[in-house]
Subunit: 207 residues, 2 copies
């Protein structure tokens, strides 16, 4: 799981190539950012995704400029970041962020088998809202034809993690400034029914 | 604020070039992702930032591979995304995400004036934790020398926003499936003091 591209030059102690570590971050994060190159210009798009085994999947409209730019296997860099906390030190210099991130270098492989494509759409849907897929009417052939599904190998994936409190300088320890961590969480609020749908009861997979 | 690069080819109704719209998203988001190109390979790094006027600023170690790759003005794409909600439709096809995002195409300008550099460090610190900077001991010359500060013009910035409920097909309206929006929020938890710092009272700018 390592290559020149995934080996960090600094702060190497924060890096990990453990499959379990990488997978846990990918499974918790809701969105990734896919970066690619067009005419020497970097481009980046946030999008939903899902992981299955050693592959990460995204989907999009067959007409999407983004999807068409990468579907033939142009190199991409996919990043995922979970921000866990703001680290407040006694000096500005030692302020930091607790985070878990994954960086993946890969090339898209277009998924062509319809059963596999349908399975990926279920995975992406249930990644965002576990239990949702089985509650939906079947996806039609026409909807499936309008959708491109791309797979990316996780062979060149690495994780970076920072945890814990501030690394204050010993000579700052006596300063009266509060230092520590302000945790950050992503939470789901009370579901808001669509207009006219107030009478439909909430499924038990929603908060 | 428009260019070929910032004009979307699809779903143009979601795009905005209004400075106020762009600035509000940048001011609310805590992190951005900076994408750049190295040997035809896209690379992307999540990082803290701050906006001031029509500039976005980041900072990093003078030894950082990332900072050194872009400090001489290589083209970058900076993305910011606020995920506001999961949009649940009655079909998988119409599931969506409510979000506010900004994409910026720019080239780094190195900030060389020490007073301006110090001001940017204050802005980035207070962007993450409003009120923090004035509570800290002064940043030393040595710390400042170890820090690179980069500015990016917002001239080529655009925002994309999706709000509201699902766009269900009319023929799906009768289906008994719940549809609507599950809001997403980023919240700050109870601050955790550093080991041995439990006696220091919380400043009033912390939650």
């Amino acid at each position: 799981m390592t290559s020149n591209r995934t080996t960090p030059s600094r702060l190497a102690k924060r890096a990990s190539y453990e499959t379990d570590t990488i997978n846990a971050i990918l499974d918790e994060a809701l969105f990734c950012t896919v970066s690619y190159v067009q005419d020497n210009q970097p481009m980046a798009i946030p999008t939903a995704f899902a992981r299955n085994g050693d592959k990460l999947y995204i989907h999009g409209s067959v007409g999407s400029h983004f999807i068409r730019s990468i579907e033939d296997g142009a190199p991409v860099c996919i990043t995922v970041m979970l921000a866990d906390g703001l680290v407040l030190a006694k000096s500005a210099f030692h302020h930091s962020v607790n985070y878990r991130s994954v960086v993946i270098f890969a090339n898209a492989e277009k998924v062509t088998d319809d059963a596999e494509r349908m399975n990926v759409l279920a995975l992406i849907t249930d990644h965002l809202i576990p239990g949702r897929w089985n509650d939906l009417r079947p996806t039609t052939d026409s909807e499936l034809r309008k959708t491109t599904v791309l797979a990316f190998s996780l062979a060149e994936a690495s994780a970076k993690i920072r945890t814990g409190g501030p690394n204050d300088d010993p000579e700052d320890a006596h300063l009266p400034t509060w230092s520590g961590v302000v945790p950050l969480h992503t939470v789901r609020g009370t579901p808001i029914p669509r207009e006219g749908g107030e009478h439909v009861s909430l499924p038990n997979y929603l908060p």
